[in-house]
Symmetry: C2
Subunit: 162 residues, 2 copies
DNA sequence: AAAGATTGAACTATCAATCTTA
DNA sequence: TAAGATTGATAGTTCAATCTTT
C-alpha cells in the first residue's frame, strides 16, 4: 500500500482529479452497457446475455455441440451457473443435453432446430445494438484502441490471479 | 435493420473479423472487471460494489447525508434496489434512515461513524485495485482515451432512450 | 396525476457440498 | 485425487404492485 495525500471528504479516493473522472466514466460504462444489451435481448428475444452467447457459441461449432465446461469458459461463467443456464434453455427446447461419447464425466449441449431458429431471429437485432452502441460511435481506430485497453486490463486481472 | 452478408456458421455475427475480435475483448472486459473488483471488495471489506459506492457517496456529501433517489442515480441503480441495499447497510449499522426535513415523500440516508470507519478501512485496498487493474496499465494517455470512448458509448446509450 | 419510496414475489447468480467417472 | 457436472441453499436483483405525500 502506498502513501497518498487525500482522504474522504476531499475526494472520494486517492486518485487525482483526472484519474477520478476517468474512473467514474469507466464505472458508468460498466453499469450501463451490460444493462443496455441485456434489455435489448430480453425485450426483443426473451434471452439473457449469457443465454444468447450460449446459443451463438453452439451454432458456431461442429454439430452445434459443445461441452458444458467449454460453454462456461466461452461465456466467462462458472460451471454451476452454466448448468443452471442449460437447464433453462433445455426446458424451453432450445438445447438438449447428450452424454459425451468417450468421457462419461462430460456433458455436451446440442443446439436444437428450435434453438437455432430462435437465435437466427434474435441475432440481427443484437448485432445492430452492438453496432449502434459500440462499433459505430468508436470507429475503426477507436475500436482498435478500446480493444487494446481492454486487453491490457484483462491481462492485469489474469496476472493478479483473481 | 440493414442487409448484411454472413449468417451463423460463418461468423458468430455480422461483424467483420476485426470488429468481432474487438467486441469479444469488450465483452470479456465487461465480464471480468466487475467480477474482479467485486471480489476484492467482498473478500477484503465484506462489501459489494454498490454498497461501497453508497458509503463513499455519503462520505463526500455534507452531513454524510443523501436522498435514496440520489444514491440510486449515483450508483446507476433502480430505486427499489437502493431501498434493499440501504436495508442491508442499515441492518449492519453502517447507515441510518432519517426523514427528509421538508418533503415527507423523501428518505435520507446518513452515514454512521461505524459506517465511516468501515469505509476508511476499505478504501485503500479498493483504490489500489483500481490503480493496479486499470489506471496503471493504461497510463495517462490510455486512460484519457479510454474515458473518451466510454463517454461516447454512454452517450449513445442515453440517446437510444434505453 | 406524479414523485419518492417501500414491499414481496419471481428470477438469477453464487457458494458449498456432493456425486460419478477418469 | 482430480475433473466434470449437478444440486440445493443463500443472497442479491428485478419487476410489479402499493402507499404516501406533493
Amino acid at each position: 500500500m502506498e502513501e497518498r495525500t487525500k482522504g474522504h471528504g476531499d475526494a472520494p479516493q486517492w486518485l487525482n482529479a483526472k484519474e477520478l473522472a476517468a474512473w467514474q466514466s469507466v464505472t458508468l460504462l460498466l453499469a450501463r452497457l451490460p444493462t443496455a444489451l441485456e434489455s435489448q435481448l430480453r425485450h426483443d428475444a426473451q434471452l439473457s446475455y449469457v443465454e444468447y452467447y450460449v446459443l451463438a457459441g453452439l451454432s458456431d461449432h461442429p454439430d452445434w455441440t459443445m461441452q458444458l465446461s467449454d460453454l462456461a469458459v466461452l461465456t466467462n461463467s462458472e460451471l454451476s451457473r452454466m448448468s443452471h443456464v442449460v437447464d433453462r434453455l433445455e426446458s424451453r427446447g432450445f438445447v438438449q443435453r447428450v452424454p459425451h461419447p468417450t468421457d462419461r464425466r462430460c456433458t455436451n449441449a446440442v443446439l436444437t432446430d428450435k434453438g437455432h431458429k430462435h437465435l437466427v431471429a434474435a441475432a440481427p437485432g443484437h448485432v445492430e445494438a452492438v453496432r449502434n452502441l459500440v462499433v459505430d460511435p468508436l470507429g475503426d481506430d477507436g475500436l482498435e484502441a478500446f480493444q487494446a485497453a481492454a486487453l491490457r486490463i484483462i491481462d492485469r486481472i489474469e496476472r493478479a490471479g483473481r
